[in-house]
């Protein structure tokens, strides 16, 4: 009962936030100037009459508040309008890209999460050992390396120099990438995933490991760990059951945040690997000032993040009994 009430209250709380964010994005964009003028500025073959027609078609002649309200009305009915380039419905564009981004992100986020747990715990337990220095150095390398540069270096080595892996895209059809000489659609998809997943996992992993290592160092100094060890509980259980449970909460928050922001994708990584995802679509849309598409992607991401935050808070309350939902 309390839980249902809590979820409903949080959902109501999201409404002004969603409206606020859409309003700010809308005003910033449409105050920048006439999108048709901006979109066709470099195209001398378009006449003023055609521009006028386009403005009429996209409803850009009305005052901005009217345009916003119309956008909001369509948004509530699940319609994001049409792209300024080619006129494809935004819903269709987004739904064709969502899966590729989600696939890439989910694999990387989960890989990073599960690798970081043993790495972070081991590095904290064996503080100042060779293994700890290795883990810490890799982590500081990971938070310092620009993802686009790392991606480019991997492409140079593994695609251009060695020729082992594809450098761009998510699928190779009609020319499938041969893995060990075998041409297979599934293997082709895997081959395309390797480099972008490596880059993204590495970036996520570095933050996770640093967070977990610091948390574990703090927790391992507590008296209850000493008490647990003194009472002869196996070290494995002490570490993974007693210590990790208390050190993992910041990591769970980060996991929630990154799953929420998942659809924001990694605009940089997706651009480097020409990945057909939402992040890259956002970059192209912003460069071309394709306002309806930008609004659509922004709103999808906003809603995803708000839902993920709610779920994170619920998980938090479940993991940590000191946190109560009310």
């Amino acid at each position: 009962m309390g839980l249902a009430k809590y979820i409903i209250r949080r959902a109501i709380y999201m409404v002004p936030l969603i409206i606020g964010i859409s309003l700010v994005s809308f005003l910033v964009m449409y105050a920048a100037g006439d999108p048709i003028q901006l979109a066709t500025a470099g195209n001398p073959s378009i006449t003023e009459a055609q521009r006028q027609f386009l403005r009429e078609y996209y409803g850009l002649n009305d005052p901005i508040p009217v345009q916003y309200l119309r956008w909001l009305d369509h948004f509530i009915h699940g319609d994001f309008g049409r792209s300024l380039y080619g006129g494809r419905p935004v819903n269709e564009i987004i739904s064709s890209l969502v899966w590729e981004t989600a696939k890439l992100q989910l694999i990387s986020i989960l890989l990073a999460f599960f690798i970081s747990i043993p790495a972070g715990v081991y590095s904290a337990v064996k503080q100042r050992s060779a293994a700890d220095y290795t883990v810490s150095s890799v982590a500081i390398f990971g938070i310092s390396v620009p993802v686009f540069w790392f991606g480019i270096v991997l492409i140079l080595i593994f695609s251009y120099y060695l020729g082992w892996l594809p450098s761009a895209g998510a699928h190779g059809a009609p020319y499938l990438w041969p893995v060990f000489g075998i041409k297979n659609e599934f293997l082709d998809e895997l081959a395309h995933l390797v480099l972008p997943v490596t880059v993204l996992t590495f970036a996520n992993l570095a933050y996770n490991v640093r967070l977990l290592r610091a948390g574990m160092l703090e927790v391992l100094r507590q008296d209850y760990i000493l008490a647990a060890r003194a009472s002869g509980i196996p070290e494995r259980k002490v570490l993974y059951k007693y210590a990790l449970k208390n050190a993992i909460t910041p990591l769970l928050t980060l996991l929630g945040l990154s799953i929420g922001a998942m659809l924001a994708g990694a605009p940089v990584t997706e651009t480097v690997f020409s990945w057909p995802g939402l992040g890259r679509a956002y970059v192209t849309a912003s460069l071309r000032l394709d306002f309806p598409l930008i609004m659509g992607i922004t709103m999808i991401i906003t809603i995803m993040i708000l839902i993920a935050n709610l779920v994170t808070d619920l998980i938090y309350a479940w993991v940590d009994p000191r946190v109560t939902i009310d």
């Binding site: 964010i21 910033v28 100037g33 901006l38 620009p146 540069w149 610091a214 605009p267 460069l287 992607i297």
Partner: protein
């Protein structure tokens, strides 16, 4: 008599406050990777200060930057004459990386100043006053925290670059790039929130300390307490956060320029990479070296940040 006692106690406090930083420095000196980072930053500063002397070719608006092209040496791999090679359009990558260092420093310093000012102000006010002020400020902070800031930074940079008429402001003979400054302001506005949270946490912990209670009961105004008691005590944290901000500012600006949203009139490291991305398969050196410069700079700031955080926050050490 009275006077002498006062001056002596003043001397005492002066010496004590100096030794706090001296202790931190002594601890920092033992942090080998921190020292390496500091050395790298000093090298970067020297390069930036002497960029016109070190670089064999001038920076880009000057037509001499394209000299390798006229000498028939465009798209050449690294050699003794062109240590980082040359680009397809015939510029010397080494010179461009050297010239780009001043913009990197400009970005690191300005983003840090703006976002630190914002986060310190919000963190202290929010933590000190609590209640409604805290509630309102923290809700605003959360909005900034939750949303993927890079997307907004890209969009806002693109839109506000449209309004740039003059590429440079002339301030006392120093040319300040307008477009880059816009990016800097946008990056700062979307970057302060997490630091404000950290600082607020520190202030909350400190608020219960006896010296704050004492100042309050002596009738000190909130402004006095915040400026003279709270701020000096969170300074160590602020310094650590500032170093980390420099690292992330350089990284974010490079990404913004790399994606093509940067200042078109400023040749930053990220922009160098954007220009040569299409030639990646042939002219790899034009990508690898500017990116390496970004990486080493960010690494240096992060190493110093880690060293400082160990040196200034002894309670985090065992």
């Amino acid at each position: 008599m009275n006077l002498r006692i006062r001056s002596e106690s003043e001397k005492e406090t002066k010496r004590r406050s100096a030794s706090q930083w001296a202790v931190a420095w002594r601890r920092f000196k033992k942090h080998r990777s921190g020292l390496v980072g500091l050395g790298m930053i000093i090298v970067l500063l020297v390069i930036a200060a002497l960029h016109n002397v070190i670089a064999p070719y001038p920076a880009r608006p000057n037509p001499d930057a394209f000299k390798p092209l006229y000498e028939g040496e465009s798209a050449q791999p690294p050699s003794w004459k062109h240590p980082f090679g040359t680009t397809v359009m015939g510029t010397d990558v080494f010179s461009e990386v050297i010239h780009g260092s001043i913009y990197t420093i400009y970005v690191a310093v300005t983003v840090t100043l703006i976002s630190m000012a914002l986060s310190v102000a919000v963190g202290i006010v929010s933590g000190y006053f609590g209640r409604l002020v805290d509630d309102v400020l923290m809700r605003i902070t959360e909005v900034f925290l939750v949303f993927p800031s890079l997307l907004f930074i890209l969009l806002f940079s693109r839109i506000y670059q449209l309004g740039v008429a003059e590429p440079f402001w002339d301030v006392f003979g120093i040319k300040i790039p307008v477009g880059l400054t816009i990016v800097v302001v946008i990056v700062s506005i979307f970057g302060w929130a997490s630091y404000a949270r950290v600082i607020r946490g520190e202030v909350l912990r400190m608020k219960e300390c006896e010296f704050i209670q004492a100042a309050k009961s002596l009738g000190a105004s909130p402004r006095w307490i915040m400026l003279r008691h709270v701020f000096p005590n969170i300074l160590p944290q602020v310094i650590v956060l500032a170093t980390l901000t420099m690292a992330s500012a350089v990284l974010v600006e490079a990404a913004v320029s790399f994606l093509g949203f940067g200042d078109p009139n400023t040749i930053t490291w990220g922009r160098l990479m954007e220009e040569s991305l299409q030639d990646l398969s042939t002219v790899w050196w034009a990508e690898v070296f500017p990116g390496l410069a970004v990486f080493l700079t960010v690494l240096a700031f992060n190493l110093v940040g880690d060293g400082l955080s160990d040196a200034l926050n002894p309670r985090l050490r065992e």
